[in-house]
Structures are given as structure tokens and as C-alpha cells.
């Protein structure tokens, strides 16, 4: 099954990259854009099986490897049922 982990800088953690993108968007004329935060999206495929177990595995992967939990928050979702 397909799954997705979204990883973003935690609230209160500075995001210089987000700031730079925000400024660039302003320069391009998108004046109203605010609060830009840049994170990562990790798409992956898991063996078919139980959703709850899959989510537990994703959480485990995120805690151990995918996210740096000192500065990043993450969220996991199962995207579909079929292969």
C-alpha cells in the first residue's frame, strides 16, 4: 500500500529556507503570501496488510530515521488500499 510521511519544521523553530522562499514569492508579485514553511514529503510503498500496523511502522520509521524530532514534526498517512 502507498503511504506518505510529511515532515515540517516544528513551531517556533526558525525556517530560513521558508523565509527565503517567501521573499522570493513577494518579489515575483505574490505579495499576500505569508508564513511559508518548507518541509519534506516522503512517499513510499509498504507491503499490503493491516492499516494500524502500517501506521505504527510509519511512526517508528519517522521517529528513528525520517524526521529529526528535535526540530521537526511529522505526520503519517496511508494513501490507498490497493497495490
Amino acid at each position: 500500500m502507498k503511504a506518505r510521511v510529511l515532515i515540517s519544521p516544528k513551531k517556533g523553530i526558525a525556517d530560513p529556507q521558508g523565509t527565503a522562499v517567501e521573499q522570493a514569492l513577494h518579489t515575483l508579485g505574490f505579495a499576500g503570501v505569508r508564513a511559508v514553511r518548507v518541509g519534506k514529503v516522503i512517499d513510499l510503498e509498504l507491503p499490503e496488510g493491516d492499516h494500524t500496523a502500517a501506521l505504527a511502522a510509519l511512526t517508528c520509521m519517522s521517529e528513528q530515521l525520517l524526521a529529526n524530532t528535535v526540530v521537526e514534526a511529522y505526520s503519517c498517512t496511508i494513501l490507498d488500499e490497493g497495490a
Partner: protein, 238 residues
């Protein structure tokens, strides 16, 4: 003959390029601030290495919209010579002046080294002082040098001789073992279809003095100088 070395916020090999052209080759060089819009009076433009806009989002993604880049696009359109080195190469692909894109290095780490590269086409304005197949030792220093392009475009580029430099073994053999960053077909440098815009990850400007470990980069820089001399000569004949 006047060179412009572009300076974007975060450029940092602007100095390296300036020194090689000015101090070593004795050429007329000027730094050009990214807010400038006028390239008249310049014959060649160097887009230097560094981290324009901190490489935020993607290397070159934000610098591409600098006012100076509009002038560079026009300059290139008129046939002006543009060399993008490292971050400059990334910028040229982002701006659409060169095909493809530069991804994170295969091993995901920044890589500072001096590596052999083979000259694939010595019949260009940027390589005319070299021989086909000649192996140059050039410094590299990048985190995003993994050249990627779709297969169809690559086929056309190969056919037209647009690949000018490839990573190789010291004896010139091109193989995966001597591909430092994962670039498709070991590509280290390319040129556009018109032959006036080139981009390369290696730093020829850092290989211009014996004291600093070698002068192989001069083959590239001298080629540019010769081409511009040739152009001047032609212009004066007309």
C-alpha cells in the same frame, strides 16, 4: 575584451573567477551586482560558484529571477558568451538556458576534491585550447552536481556534441567508478545548441596557478579568451 563576473547574494566564488581572469590572465574584469540590468560593453559573462540565496529551495532557483539574469538571457540570445561554473551551472539550467537539472549528489554529501575530467568536444568556444580526449585535473566542490536529463534530450545532446566534459579515470576511461556524484553519462559540463552558453560543475578558475595545485583550468578560460579575440578580430575586419 571585458568580462563580467555576476554577484548574487550568496555568490562566493566570484572572487575566484575574478582572480583567475584578472590576476592570472590579465584580463579586464568587473563584478556585476545582481540588480544590474545592463550588460552592454561586456564580451563574456561568468556566473560564478557559491550559494546564491543560500541554495534555498534549489540551487539557482531564486537567483534565476534576479534582474541581472534577464540581461544575461538577452545577452546569450544575442550570442554573447556565458560560462556558468558550479552554482552558475545550476542557475543556467534553472533559467532554461541549458537543458537538464542538477540533483543532490548520489551519496548526498558535499564533495570537495580534484578529479580527472575528459574533454569530449574540443571544437567549442569553451574548449578550443584542449584536445579531444584530453584529461584535465579540475577541482570540484558541490553538494548538487548530479546532472539529470531525460533520455531523449540526452540523445540529442550527445549527437550534437553538447557534452563537453565527462568525469573519468586518470587514464581517461569513463566508468561508473569514476563518477563522483552520480551524473547521467558521467556528465561534468555541457554547452547549449548555439555554442555560446556553457555550464560545468568543475571549477576551472580554481586551477589557474601552479602554487595552488595546477593550471589545467586555464585550458577552459584561455579558450574563452581566444574565442573572444577571434570575435573581436572578425568584428574589426567587417
Amino acid at each position: 575584451m571585458r568580462f563580467a563576473v555576476a554577484v548574487f547574494p550568496g555568490s562566493n566564488c566570484d572572487v575566484d573567477a575574478y582572480r583567475a581572469l584578472h590576476d592570472v590572465l590579465g584580463r579586464d574584469v568587473e563584478y556585476l551586482w545582481y540588480r544590474e540590468t545592463d550588460l552592454s560593453g561586456f564580451d563574456g559573462v561568468i556566473l560564478p560558484g557559491g550559494f546564491s540565496y543560500g541554495d534555498y529551495l534549489r540551487p539557482g532557483a531564486i537567483a534565476r529571477f534576479a534582474p541581472l539574469m534577464e540581461a544575461v538571457v538577452r545577452f546569450a540570445g544575442r550570442g554573447g558568451m556565458v560560462l556558468g561554473i558550479c552554482n552558475g551551472f545550476q542557475l543556467l539550467t534553472e533559467a532554461g538556458l541549458l537543458p537538464g537539472a542538477l540533483l543532490r549528489n548520489r551519496d548526498l554529501t558535499f564533495l570537495c576534491d580534484t578529479v580527472p575530467v575528459r574533454v569530449e568536444n574540443a571544437d567549442t568556444a569553451f574548449t578550443r585550447c584542449c584536445q579531444n580526449g584530453q584529461v584535465l585535473r579540475l577541482p570540484i566542490a558541490h553538494g548538487d552536481g548530479n546532472y539529470a536529463v531525460d533520455a531523449a534530450t540526452l540523445a540529442v545532446m550527445e549527437q550534437r556534441g553538447q557534452v563537453i566534459l565527462r568525469y573519468c579515470a586518470p587514464d581517461g576511461t569513463v566508468d561508473e567508478q569514476h563518477n563522483p556524484n552520480g551524473s547521467v553519462a558521467n556528465i561534468a559540463g555541457i554547452i547549449n545548441g548555439q555554442g555560446n552558453v556553457a555550464g560545468m560543475m568543475p571549477h576551472p578558475e580554481r586551477a589557474a596557478e601552479e602554487l595552488l595545485g595546477g593550471t589545467n583550468g586555464l585550458f577552459i578560460l584561455q579558450s574563452m579568451v581566444q574565442e573572444l579575440e577571434r570575435r573581436q578580430h572578425e568584428a574589426s575586419r567587417c
